[in-house]
């Protein structure tokens, strides 16, 4: 048996079975999906890859092969891939587990298995070319996950996302076709210039870099926040990991100070602009979209530290941000019940009926600000900003701090102090309050146990060259 069968074929088959399970509600399907994803995460932690595993008193051995071939191309998941495999499937299990509490349709548990399986295959690809093609398939697959419900039938955001996903693929493939022979060329040559331009444009389209960020608020306005958080976050992590796995083989990406300086400016600009735009949003769905863009800004800032330090910083931020996305988008989704409306006039006074869930929605939004030495913001600042900042960079960081903080205060006022009562006003259940405690406990662990995430990041770093 090879690792591809275990972490790609098995979850895809399970996703098919869960998806085709007739008339089962989300509450039942989520246990099946979370169970399979949890077992795969445990397998990543416990099973040796590429080494014989003794069975029945050492008379028989069983080996999980690390490599396999598909249509002439090699794929591999060796022992160094175990940390990110465990994380990816643990996130999938957690997202599947909370799906019923977020009142998602029964299709979601199947997606919580299928999407990580596709991303695992892309990460296992030996070459960048098949990895890019597999990522493209995953991006198009997100359309099914994000297609709006009947209350939001326009689908403009999803269509723009699809356009960006399809337009990015040819640019990346054309760049890769030009690459052989240019890996060690100096950055100033015209060949490298054209190739870098194609590559940069393709990746910018896929990652929603300014000015292609416009898809985020559109998606946030149309898509259920929990679905957007799940698909957006997992795809972002997989895209960055694929690029980090391949980029060291290209000298003009590996040793190019101008590239990292640009990433730093891009990161600071993104967190400042997204943070500033949070102040003027009247739809909580659009807030989720802009926070997704802001979150990518922290990634660029972390990666600006160079391939070595940047990868570690990015990975250190991975777990805290996953837990923040999970808990926050769950709370926002619950607040939008029963008809998935997220405009401020629909949410006014909602916090009086669901005070605990609203508190998570407010705290989650405020946590995206780079609070010095406190909460997720402290971790963001500590890992993404290790070097000295210029005065104008401090100014951008201040905007990034004020934006989410003031937006959190503003939405707290809307939730708790607004005179209107939403119709109908659903009170939160004891089960939802229990989940609030779990979410807050996870966030406190993020804030006060940074060593845990550093240790995981150091282990996951071993997979990268």
């Amino acid at each position: 048996m090879n690792a591809g069968l275990l972490w790609v074929a098995l979850p895809l088959a399970a996703a098919g079975a869960v998806g085709a399970w007739p008339k089962a509600p989300t509450r039942r399907k989520r246990w099946a999906a979370a169970g399979v994803a949890g077992l795969l995460a445990l397998a990543a932690v416990a099973l040796p890859i590429g080494r014989p595993l003794p069975l029945l008193g050492y008379r028989w051995t069983w080996t999980l092969q690390a490599e396999w071939h598909l249509l002439g191309r090699g794929f591999a998941l060796d022992a160094t891939a175990r940390p990110w495999l465990a994380a990816l499937w643990a996130w999938a299990a957690l997202w599947a587990l909370l799906a019923a509490e977020a009142r998602l349709a029964p299709d979601f548990p199947a997606w919580s298995l299928a999407l990580p399986a596709g991303l695992t295959l892309a990460l296992a690809a030996g070459d960048f070319l098949p990895a890019v093609l597999l990522l493209a398939l995953n991006l198009v697959g997100l359309v099914f996950l994000w297609t709006p419900t009947v209350h939001r039938p326009r689908g403009v955001g999803v269509m723009r996302f699809l356009t960006a996903a399809v337009a990015g693929l040819p640019l990346l493939l054309l760049a890769l076709a030009r690459l052989p022979g240019l890996e060690t060329a100096p950055p100033q040559t015209p060949e490298v210039h054209y190739t870098g331009l194609l590559l940069g444009l393709g990746l910018a389209l896929w990652a929603g870099v300014f000015p292609f960020h416009i898809v985020y608020p559109l998606l946030g306005q149309e898509t259920y926040p929990y679905r957007l958080g799940f698909g957006g976050w997992l795809t972002h992590v997989a895209l960055v990991l694929v690029v980090l796995h391949w980029a060291p083989s290209v000298a003009w990406l590996r040793d190019n100070p101008a590239l990292y300086a640009s990433l730093r400016t891009l990161g600071l600009g993104t967190i400042a602009l997204a943070g500033g735009l949070l102040l003027v949003q009247r739809d909580l769905g659009r807030v989720v979209g802009y926070v997704m863009w802001l979150s990518t800004g922290w990634s660029w800032l972390a990666l600006a530290q160079g391939l070595e330090g940047g990868a570690t910083a990015f990975l250190t931020l991975a777990w805290p941000r996953a837990l923040l996305w999970l808990g926050w988008t769950w709370a926002v989704s619950v607040l939008g019940l029963p008809d998935a409306r997220f405009a401020d006039r629909h949410l006014a006074g909602r916090g009086r009926a669901a005070p605990w869930v609203a508190a998570v929605a407010v705290l989650g939004l405020g946590a995206w600000a780079p609070w010095p030495g406190l909460g997720l913001g402290g971790l963001l600042t500590a890992t993404a900003l290790p070097t000295a900042l210029a005065p104008w960079e401090w100014l951008l960081l201040a905007v990034a701090f004020i934006g989410p903080t003031w937006a959190a205060v503003r939405w707290a006022r809307i939730f708790y102090l607004a005179p209107h009562e939403p119709t109908p006003n659903l009170p939160e259940s004891p089960r939802e309050r229990a989940w609030v405690v779990v979410v807050l406990a996870a966030w406190v662990a993020v804030a006060f146990l940074p060593g845990l995430w550093y240790a995981w990041a150091a282990a996951a770093r071993g997979w990268l060259p």
């Binding site: 598909l70 249509l71 002439g72 191309r73 070319l129 098949p130 093609l133 597999l134 493209a136 398939l137 198009v140 697959g141 359309v143 099914f144 297609t147 709006p148 009947v150 039938p153 326009r154 689908g155 403009v156 999803v158 269509m159 699809l162 356009t163 399809v166 337009a167 693929l169 040819p170 493939l173 054309l174 076709a177 030009r178 015209p190 054209y194």
Partner: protein
């Protein structure tokens, strides 16, 4: 190759969904003629099947709903679309020397024609708010890209994944058509 450019221009102005699907099928057949020169025959035919399958999926998705893609656009709008398309082709011709420097190994007709079709497809996709037009535009753009890319690389996995990508794109488009039109009917 120039058949492809003509068909891509036609797709910009056609309104009826049957015309769009027929145009897309003809475009895929024209693409086969280009790929035949660059790829092994089996791979070129695989691409044709994937392209036609994508068109069929879009047709099924649209046919499930009696609603037309939208109100019939006035002739002036079609004229503007055509002019924008011709301008895009002229733009590609104007940058012929740059394209030759970037892709010297691609024959000039495939280089200019492929880039023109890709740009026309992108215009079609960017101009539309209807999932059918968007999907047809994106598939047109991919056809132009393939005419350009086929001279640079080929392989079994590459062809298979690109074929899968087109079919999945059409499936997603068909799903969007269903969701959008079903939503409009309920509203």
């Amino acid at each position: 190759m120039w058949w492809m450019v003509g068909l891509a221009l036609l797709l910009l102005v056609v309104h009826d969904w049957r015309g769009l699907i027929a145009g897309l099928a003809a475009l895929q057949a024209a693409l086969l003629a280009v790929l035949w020169q660059a790829w092994p025959a089996a791979l070129a035919v695989t691409q044709l099947i994937a392209g036609w399958l994508a068109g069929a999926m879009l047709a099924i998705g649209q046919n499930l709903h009696p609603t037309p893609p939208g109100l019939t656009p006035p002739w002036s709008e079609r004229l503007v679309r055509l002019l924008a398309g011709l301008l895009a082709v002229a733009l590609v011709w104007a940058t012929a020397s740059t394209l030759a420097a970037v892709w010297p190994q691609v024959p000039w007709s495939a280089r200019l024609g492929g880039a023109s079709v890709a740009l026309l497809g992108l215009i079609q996709a960017a101009w539309s708010r209807h999932p059918l037009r968007l999907s047809v535009g994106l598939l047109t753009g991919l056809s132009g890209f393939l005419a350009l890319y086929a001279w640079q690389q080929h392989g079994l996995l590459l062809t298979g994944l690109l074929g899968m990508f087109q079919v999945l794109l059409a499936w997603a488009g068909s799903y969007l058509i269903h969701q959008t039109l079903a939503g409009e009917e309920r509203l």
